[in-house]
Each structure stands twice: as C-alpha cells, then as structure tokens.
Point group: C2
Chain length 392, copies 2
C-alpha cells in the first residue's frame, strides 16, 4: 500500500465506520490468489495476461506486477482499455468481438503507442479491421476467436472460413493469432472435468493456429484461458499465453467448483442488520441485490448458496447462515435446516461472500481495502479506498 493510495479520510477508518453496504477487498487474499496463478503460469511456460474485468481497478492490477513494469492485460470494454492505457499499460487485448463502430477508439489507442489487439470471428469484421488499418496507415492487430465448447462466440477450429479471415487480416499485417475461452468450464464439476476442459481449450486453440500456419499465415499468439481451466491445465504446449480474471478475488461459484477454498475469497460486501422476522426465521439486512447483484451462479451447483454466505466483520464464516432473498435494498438471511440462527442485534455488521465476484464488484464504485494478514482486535482497519473503472 503506497501512501498515495491512502486518502486522508481513510485515516484510522475501520469496517465499522462507512455507511453500509460497501464492498471490501482483502489485499492479503488477493495477493495470495495472484501468486498462485503466476506460479502456475511460470511452471506451464506461458505468459500470464490477467483479465482486469473482475476488479476493474488500477490498484488491484498493480498487485499483479508488484512494483515491476506493467504486465500484459485483457480487458472487456474500451473504457477499461482507455483507463489502463492512462495508467501506463501498453500491452492490452480487448477480448470481446469487435463492433466496427468502435474501431476509431481502437485506432486512437494504437496511435498513443498502446498495443491493443481486437478479437473477431467473421470476414465482415476482418474487412472492417483491414480497412481501418489502411486508413490509419498501420495495422490494427487482431486475433481470431476460436470456439472450443459452444459457449458463445468464435469459430470452430475446423471452420472453412477461418483461412479466409486469416488471409484478409494478413494482407494488412493485422493477423496476431488466435484466442479461445472455455466458458463451459464454469460448469465442469470435477477436477478431472476441468482438466479435460483445459486440454480441449488448448487443443482447439493449437489446432486453429496450425490450420492458419498450414496456409502460410503467421500466428504469433495462441491465447487460452478461464479461471477454472487456468488452474487445471497440466500441459500448454503450443500455447503462448494464459488469461484468467475472476481468480484475483474468486467467489462462491469457484469455491463450489473446487477451484479455490472459501478462505481464498477476497471480495465481500459489508451489510448491517436492520430487522428480524422471528416468525419466518429471517434476519433482514440493508444489502439487497443493488449491493450483491442479481447473480445466482451457485443455483446451478450441487450446493446452492443463495445470494451469498455470511461472515462476521472480521471474516469468520457464520456456519449455516445464507442470504436467501434480495430486493433492491433488503437482504434476507436464513439458517439452513439443522443450523441455528445466531443472535444478530439491530446494527450488527456482517460480510456477505458473493456468488460471482465480477457481478458483485460491478455494483460498487470502489473497494475498501483490508489486510487479513494483520489480524486486529475488533473491526479490521481500512488500509485504502480503491476506485473502479465503469461504463463502456
């Protein structure tokens, strides 16, 4: 934590001070999560290109390359690309299929010296990128999106149109490589299924790269990744880089998949008890879906965690307590069958661990930062307040 991250107003602030609800990041857990995947990428011999769409924070991103030069990053919006370019990042992949209307902002970033790669899976998009490159006088680097598991966009590695797109891009010097994302791995319930999803993701990307190379086309980048596959891959030969985003914070969906433990979850939301409904077994809080998001990712898992699990203000899990319902500014906590509803008087502050860190973080302007490696008596100290990038 550098002094410039510490606003004057944060001095001596603890999690008992700001009005609730607000989002909290545990910097100790975040660092540990970051180190874990960085070590994996080293062992696998690939460059790690973290996806900053989860935290959307220059301060969190600074932990990715602790004091060293800015690392490569992946972004989900041009607003993120612009904010990270302003923050000194010069190696950025925009991993959502390019809308040709957005190419002027891409070209403007390239003119600033940022290597910003775009993604596409159609001849129309490739022609737009080639055309923008001709007009700019320099190539807009582009990757071809490969679909490895029928999750959303991309071309199957054996799609006949792949070579044609490669040639359209290459004629203007735009072809950078291929990129795939194993979106279905979020539903791979066992470690073996996740390992197989990682193998399939790698195999699909490498097969597409080989097809392009067989056409005489240069493929510099072979990019794969999702948080589950990044933690499951045991062989990434032929792959040049690994992407993952959620892992900096993790969440209940990832814990449910066994990708992390509950004690790795670095994002939570502080809420306050504002009522009791003993006749229904409910504790009512001031944290509803506006604070948590409407994401119910664990509903599809073996253990449905409602809108989240509950800890005390220090971060100790309150076993059996679940946030089972949400309206805009109200949350309902209920004890699971066989569990005891603890005594939680009006004004008690709790922390809710979310289903989906990306969605919950997006409901907040920023993060109050705590460090669980420095245990304190009482409410944890707020070490800093970090902002988020938002919008498009």
């Amino acid at each position: 934590m550098t002094p410039e991250n510490l606003p004057a107003s944060a001095t001596a602030l603890t999690l008992a001070d700001p009005d609730t609800p607000f989002a909290v990041v545990d910097v100790h857990r975040t660092r540990r999560n970051i180190e874990r995947l960085a070590a994996r990428a080293d062992r696998l011999g690939v460059t790690l290109r973290p996806h900053v769409k989860t935290a959307k924070s220059l301060d969190v991103a600074a932990l990715l390359h602790a004091g060293d030069r800015h690392c490569p990053v992946t972004v989900s919006t041009l607003a993120e690309a612009e904010a990270f370019a302003d923050g000194g990042y010069t190696d950025i992949t925009y991993a959502v299929g390019i809308d040709p209307h957005k190419l002027p902002r891409v070209v403007a970033l390239l003119r600033r010296g940022v290597t910003l790669r775009v993604l596409l899976d159609s001849v129309e998009q490739a022609e737009s990128v080639a055309d923008a490159s001709r007009r700019a006088g320099f190539p807009v680097p582009a990757q071809i999106e490969i679909d490895c598991d029928g999750h959303r966009g991309g071309l199957r590695p054996d799609a006949p149109v792949l070579a044609r797109i490669g040639h359209v891009l290459h004629e203007q010097g735009c072809l950078d490589g291929v990129l795939t994302h194993a979106g279905e791995s979020y539903f791979a319930r066992t470690a073996e299924d996740q390992r197989l999803a990682a193998k399939n993701e790698r195999d699909s990307a490498v097969a597409a790269a080989e097809r392009l190379r067989a056409e005489g086309l240069p493929v510099a980048t072979v990019s794969v990744g999702s948080t589950p596959t990044a933690h499951a891959a045991d062989d990434l030969s032929g792959v040049t880089e690994l992407r993952a985003g959620n892992y900096v914070f993790f969440d209940l969906v990832m814990a449910g998949l066994g990708v992390c433990r509950l004690e790795d979850l670095a994002l939570s939301v502080v809420v306050t008890v504002i009522g009791h409904r003993p006749e229904y077994g409910w504790v009512v809080t001031d944290g509803g879906w506006m604070a948590m998001s409407r994401d119910r990712g664990t509903a599809a898992q073996a253990q449905d965690q409602g809108y989240g699990l509950v800890t005390d203000l220090v971060g100790n899990l309150l076993p059996g307590l679940v946030m089972t319902a949400a309206s805009q500014e109200h949350g309902t906590l209920t004890a699971r069958e066989g569990s005891h509803l603890p005594d939680l008087p009006i004004g008690t502050r709790l922390r809710i661990l979310p289903n989906h860190a990306c969605a919950t973080a997006a409901q907040h302007h920023g993060y109050h930062v705590v460090d669980s490696s420095r245990p304190e008596k009482g409410a944890p100290a707020v070490e800093a307040v970090w902002n988020r990038v938002s919008g498009w």
Copy 2:
C-alpha cells in the same frame, strides 16, 4: 426538454452514434406512464409519492411535477435523499428500515429543512430515533413498517409490540404514521389477484393505524403502494398516500402481470450485433449482463422472456426474438420455436427491453433520451443525456 439538459455533445446525436451498449429512455412513454398513475391517485383521493429508486434521476423526476413545485418522493438510499435534497425536494420518505448508524446523515438533512421520514419496525430502532431526536433538539419523523404479505420487513398489524414502538416514538414527537408495501403483488398473476393484494395492503395499513390511534397515538400518514397494487386499487379509504416506482419505465415483469402493455416500456438498452452462430441459431451482441443486469424476473412468469425482448433501433418489436443468454459483455439472441431468425448483419443496432427496469437502469451512469411522439426516418434523435444517482 430544457436547453440546459442538452449537452453540446448531444447536438444532432442519434441512437446510431454512441458506442454500445447504452441505456435509452423514451420520454414520451415515460410521460404517459406518469400521467396514468397521477390520474389514478387523483381519482382515489390520495397523494402520490413516487419512488425515485427506479430512474434515480432528477431529470426523470422533473416529469413527475412538470414545471410545478417539487412533489413528495420516496427514496431507497440516503445518497438519493441527499441528491434529491440538493435538487430542491423537501418532502422525502426513506423507505428502507433505518440502520441507527445512518441517523447522523438523516439529522443533517432535517437541519437543512428537508422533511425526511425514516422507517422502522423494532423498539431498538425507535429508541435510536428517539435518542437522535433528543440530541438534535428536534424530532426525526418516523413511520412504522407494516408487513401485509410476508414479503420482507415490517410488523403484522396485530403485532403486540406495535403500540410500544408507537409510544417510544410519540414521546419524542417522532411518530408520523405507518407504511406498507405489497411486495408479493409482483407475483399476483391476474387483475383480480392484484386488486385483492391492493385491498389487503390498504386494509393492513389502515388496521395498524387504527390500533395506534386506539392507543391515543397520532397517525398522520398511512402510506401504501407497489406498482401492481397502485394500478389495481379501487378503494383507498383511510390511506393518505400511494407509492410506486417502477411505473415510470415499466418492464417485462410488469407487462407479464398485465399492469402495462409492451408499448408502455420506456427503458431499453441499445446493443450491436457482433457475431453469428448459425449452427446454434444464435446472434451474438455486445450487450451482456453488465448492460442488462442478471435479473431474470420473468423466469417465474407464464412467459419467460429470457434476459429481454428485442426491438429495432426505432423501437418496433422483432417478434419471436429473445435474449436467451448473457455473459459479462456478450448477449445471445435466439428465435423462439416457430419463429424466424431475421437477417441481422454485423453492426446492426437493436434495443433490448429488460425484465426489471430498476436493475437494468442501475447498470448505467445515465440515459440517452428519445421521444417516440416525434417519429423520424432512421435512427431516433437523442434529445438529451440524463444522469443517474448511484451508490449509498
């Protein structure tokens, strides 16, 4: 639309111009929705106190009292209360059970001359409010929350503790009245069920008020409301005011309940086609859950509308087309069985009608405003850009 609402950058702007996704408000439909409920409240002989939690916009609120003095409003956060106080509103009800920690901000608004009422349903909260009033030297006006349908907070009208809370408040001059919200009316599928929900909401509030009056306690305000019951109530005798929020925009959940027609929906999100997966029957857009929210309110209705229905850029419904899946920045459009997937080339702009206007609006910083009463050739003109209040 006053000139000061029109930023220079909006001159000659149309919905074809800003990068997608972005939120659009149709001011014509919004005005019509507002006039409809205002006329109902007049006929029912109650004051209308719109809930500004849906639009969270001073510009939208200005349509509620067209040029006239500021109307009473309901808010869901103190951030809204503060923003509306800054905007000249002096009669505000904060309709979420009060966290005692937030009372200093309530007192600060009262000192500024704003009549800000708080809500509570426990002796502990009433004692905190009485204590804050003693220290401030003036009463903090408070309403007792009544539960009419087991939805979340509040006391049943016959709860033994009701009188005691009334006395604790009255001793400091804080007792303003009672408030209830028929949250379960969002699941009342027929007009008759909605009428019964409205009757139950009215009966519960009036019964609680009568119990307090029988104790010799003054009850000035008897407040009821939800968008479905506000549009279904046929007798509000004994009620002084009606609250509703969602109705300014309406959404697919309200259309599914029959409270409005699809052509009343005033909020939509403009997205762009970025890909096609003919093998799956998918059109891929750049509007995912970050733009729409994760809300799937219609999943519980007879007709599940996925993440939303689809219109062209002008607002004409594309029949049978549904947004069936969302990731963070990707939306998937699919034709319903028996419907034809239209030809939507890369770059085509569409508008998505959301499940839940409150949740979708919250994903955006503001609104691009169009006026469908002035039909134009081609993309609708952007008449203004309006900001939203956010945070807590």
